[in-house]
Symmetry: C2
């Protein structure tokens, strides 16, 4: 299923992360704002600064092109699109194009399309299943409802493809339509593995590759394509993006059991409550005692959870070193991402993209 070129054949590396300094710090020790200030701006902030006006133009395009006479569409889309978010995927498109020496402005609309596709999947991710609803888990789409989330997502998706048609590049349309199909496959595969502790690591990586890495890969690849670079360079950027996406999602899965909500504004325990099978759970389950496994089977497989269960889950994750194991594996993908950039000559662009790969992993330290 997976089209993205993923790095190391054997991802089951032991504790030998090249980012040892990161992995040696307890996972719950998060970067506080004052620390961040003391260390200077992070890689993402430097990427934003380097991209500069391109990002402002992209944001304007996003706001202009998500408009519709049907008022509910901009209203709902604004919640996700206009309100901000880190714009990581469009930043990758913009910077990839610039690193490839592109000097036009088509990359602006391509970056906006990438963000539309991402936002559509976010909206569709908000759709809750009947079973979750019965357990009182309607949250993200509580204001507008399932149906509105689906339809506005559809609108953004269709609008993205219409914009791409206007841009007029069949290769770009091919890359992004293929990535969209692969993302949907990854999401369906995730659904199929939900509540299933017999899922193995390879299957988990397949899910991550489909649902997250494929769009990261496409976002970078179109930067090379719009710049008219060779297939080799396009493939290198696809590999950079795909491996970065793998690292990004794995760290995200770790944060769901580790983040300090006050610092990162992220909710801990969403994946646990939904019975999502992620690497931290697989590691903790594999390394756990028989009593631990009974706990995981009850809470994840049978979806029987009480108030105190999340704390116990976090304790088991901590005890088995599952966060560190997840981050170590993410770091291998981040390293592979950086290595893929080696065919490009040194530049500020290449340097900041390499730093972004490191930063993706060092978010948890």
């Amino acid at each position: 299923m997976v089209r993205v070129a993923i790095g190391p054949e054997n991802t089951a590396v032991s504790g030998e992360s090249s980012l040892g300094v990161v992995a040696n710090v307890p996972p719950s020790d998060l970067l506080l704002p004052e620390q961040e200030a003391a260390q200077g701006p992070d890689a993402l902030s430097r990427l934003v600064a380097l991209v500069g006006d391109d990002l402002r133009a992209c944001n304007q395009t996003i706001i202009d092109r998500m408009n519709s006479q049907v008022a509910l569409i901009p209203q709902l889309a604004a919640h996700l699109v206009a309100a901000g978010g880190k714009r990581l995927r469009p930043l990758l498109t913009l910077s990839s194009a610039r690193m490839c020496g592109y000097e036009g402005d088509r990359h602006i609309v391509l970056a906006a399309c990438v963000e539309f596709i991402h936002t559509a999947t976010l909206l569709h991710d908000d759709v809750v299943d009947e079973s979750l609803l019965r357990r009182g888990l309607a949250s993200a789409n509580a204001v507008f409802g399932n149906k509105a989330s689906v339809l506005v997502g559809d609108f953004l998706f269709a609008r993205a493809f219409h914009l791409l048609v206007t841009d007029g590049s069949l290769p770009v349309l091919g890359i992004l339509s293929q990535a969209s199909a692969t993302m949907a496959e990854g999401e369906v595969l995730q659904l199929a593995t939900q509540n299933d502790l017999s899922t193995d690591e390879a299957r988990y990586l397949e899910v991550v590759s489909g649902k997250t890495a494929s769009l990261f890969a496409a976002a970078c690849e179109v930067g090379a394509v719009v710049a008219g670079r060779s297939a080799t360079e396009a493939a290198a950027l696809s590999s950079f993006g795909g491996n970065l996406g793998m690292a990004f999602q794995m760290v995200d899965d770790a944060l769901d059991y580790a983040a300090d909500q006050a610092v990162l504004g992220k909710t801990v325990g969403d994946d646990f409550r939904e019975g999502k099978i992620t690497l931290p759970v697989l590691v903790a389950y594999a390394a756990g005692s028989e009593a631990d496994r009974v706990f995981w089977r009850r809470t994840i497989e049978d979806s029987e959870q009480s108030e105190a269960d999340l704390d116990h889950a976090l304790a088991l994750i901590e005890r088995t070193g599952a966060i560190r194991a997840t981050i170590d594996k993410a770091a291998v993908f981040a390293d592979t991402a950086k290595a893929a950039l080696a065919i490009f000559p040194p530049s500020d662009w290449r340097s900041v993209l390499e730093d972004v790969a490191d930063f993706t992993v060092s978010r948890v330290r």
Copy 2:
């Protein structure tokens, strides 16, 4: 919002339907299978016969291209795609291309893409809102769940665009991506009018134009484009399809308050239970007594319905002639559809498409 060229400026015609013979028969008097046999094959059957091998090739393409290594995708898609359905939209693409003298085979894959897009919207239509769920209305997607319906729909939509990219026509991609965006707008507009009896007929027609007519129009237009015909001919086929789609949806809305379930395999009362604002309700509300309006406000606006309410709604619809009024207006669109074909020379293709327009309305008689 609406791009489809819709026929008569003033659709508020009185009882003067050109299909008087149809409209004079009580709406509940449906065509029984034995009657159908006595009258010879209906227009749709004749269209299927004329299209012949093209439809078989299209069905094979649909089955081949909805495949995925993620087993749930073909499983769920098969429920809607492979199992059949009348394939009305792909039939329109196939026959439009042939009427335009097309002799290649690209129209096969275009027709399959049109059906994929339609199926994606069907799957997304299955998504139920929390409010409906609370009233016990989870039905269509009960087997697989909201989330699977959304994701498999996304897959089919993305796959359709990927197939279109492989076909390689930017004009065709433009027509179908624009239609997809317009469909989503129409569906969102429908959501916004739900439970709102102050919706007027113009707004209702706008919903129908977006959610249904736009894809009918696109399905026909791409037939002219693939055949390399002029913009005038493409616009004529777009108008035919758009007006046919209007008639089709309006009749569908009438059937929701009129169909004999045993004959048509259609459930009566779905729209009523969901508080959907359709023309039969608007007519019955406008023509009703104050007591009637109290009834409609309670059941449609406040969503307070008891077991007996559907029967009472059907009685009010019958008493106010709302079915006939709806069908009469649908007939005007069907006539406009037929008129749009006048620029094409007479042929078996043109003739059967004209008959399909009539048949669309005569389903209720």
